[in-house]
Amino acid sequence: MSDSILGLDGIPAKSINGTGEISNNGDFSGEMSNNGVIITQSTKPLPAGVTLPLYMDNHATTQMDKRVLDAMLPFFSVKFGNAASRNHAFGWEAEEAVEKSRQQIAKLIGATAKEIIFTSGATESNNLALKGIAEMYRERGNHIITQATEHKAVLDTCKRLEKYGFRVTYLPVQADGLIDVEDLKRAIVTEGEGKTILVSIMFANNEIGVVQPIAEIGKICHDNGIIFHTDAVQAVGKIPVDVQAMNIDVLSLTAHKIYGPKGVGALYVRRRNPRVQISAQIDGGGHERGMRSGTLNVPGIVGLGKACEISGEEMATEAARQTELRDYMRNKFEKALDYVHVNGNMEHHLPGNLNMSFVYVEGESLLMGINDIAVSSGSACTSATLEPSYVLKALGLGDDVAHSSIRFGLGRFNTRAEVDYVSDKLIDVVLKLRELSPLYEMVKEGIDLTKIEWAAH
């Protein structure tokens, strides 16, 4: 049994439930359990540059950049005009700001300003792209190709299109999370009513950070006269995206993943070679070239443009910095712990993403031990479904390993001190939970867990 003390570099006198109640007044180490095992309490002060709670979940959303907020503020008050008001200065001012944003976005992805359609966010962009293209090109064919680890905004939209009579192929991913382009080629139907009209493959995955071979996919699509849509929410502003070089026809992006506001996104829709048409899914005043009616969210759009501008300017240095921090973090885990592994291809990978499995430790208990750090677990226990991530399962991971996975999402505001704090704390919690883990003990004794007949429950 354990008699080691595995106290953590935690918060002085702060309880684990995050209420900030002082339960033992910083003198906890004197009151150990009979195992001498303590998980979170510690009297050690926080390292310099670290404040709690600590945010490291930047694939979910990002903190707005102060520069973005400053750009937006006037458009909430004095510059309140409707960008569709053509006959007075208030409208012109708003329209000018909107057009500037279009240019900022277009520049970041190699498009032209006229090809940018504003939406309420990437979920709407994905819905508009898939449903709008399916509807517009239905006479050409009824086959759509996507892949297993897409975001639900794509997968569930495809499910709905299936109900409407479209046939959808969901390509599998390989163990590293990438699709096999040969699978794509094989899935394409070039003739008849069942002709493939649309391929939708995400640029970078939100859970495991892998970057799909987008340029290769784009070329295959164009060679076959198929429209290529990509959900580029996690990629835009983080890694180079060029709709021309990569043969992307339609692309979804959103502001809040790049330090902009929530509730605003865009859809790039190619205007030439080929000209892509999309059936509107929201009817009204015919805004956005008739593809998306509704009064424009001018402050949000200004924020999105500014966020794109900053991301573009800082991409090279920021990507290098985050990649270095990510690899540093990974090395720390691999040095301190056995039975850990990264999920997803690490060569074709987002700079700020690290998805690791801490095998023989259950994810929710892991998160409970790092309660003041915001990261994501591979299991969706909090949604009460207890289902492990479908993305990790698509890689072929067992439920038990998927349950033991943590997604770290490094962002613009994370520092090396924070990375040190998070990794040290996580290592301590994993060590402690493995002291508690019957699976870890059994594996250490050389028992093959797959050979055990687990009692079904």
């Binding site: 359990s33 195992n35 023989y360 259950e362 208990s365 299991s379 207890l386 699976l439 687990w454 009692a455």
Partner: protein
């Protein structure tokens, strides 16, 4: 998810963590749950053959905080009880003590199963007949 103070306390200071010699006749071992379900509990008891009193209990659990707390609490409760008394511990007692929310009730069920499995193992080793009461209780869930 918000955890009750008692769950947090057991998670932070788990009681009776450890292992006993599985091969000893005095030790009963219960291993319940499955890795793919995200919960595996191992509860072990050392029983005095004369008095049938559980003199010591140890656990190890792979699972969420509520699963850890349920098994930790189970070891506290069975210690000092006779095996007959220990068999009266039900999952609802654990739910109540730890204020488990509905989605975590399965953790308490697993802890009750672990107690029963450990006692069953000890009985088997020591050729003690299962009592009717136990079977009824098992059938009840």
């Amino acid at each position: 998810m918000a955890y009750s103070d008692k769950v947090v306390d057991h998670y932070e200071n788990p009681r009776n963590v450890g292992s006993m010699d599985k091969s000893s006749d005095e030790v009963g071992t219960g291993l319940v749950g499955a890795p793919e379900c995200g919960d595996v509990m191992r509860l072990q008891i050392r029983v005095n053959p004369e008095t049938q009193v559980i003199e010591d209990a140890k656990f190890k659990t792979f699972g969420c905080g509520s699963a850890i707390a349920s098994s930790s609490l189970a070891t506290e409760w069975v210690k000092g009880k006779t095996i007959a008394e220990a068999l009266t511990i039900s999952n609802t007692d654990i739910v109540k003590e730890l204020a488990l929310p509905p989605v975590k009730i399965h953790c308490s069920v697993l802890a009750e199963d672990a107690i029963r499995a450990a006692i069953g193992d000890w009985k088997k080793k020591n050729n003690v007949a299962e009592t009717a009461g136990v079977q009824v209780a098992v059938a009840a869930h």
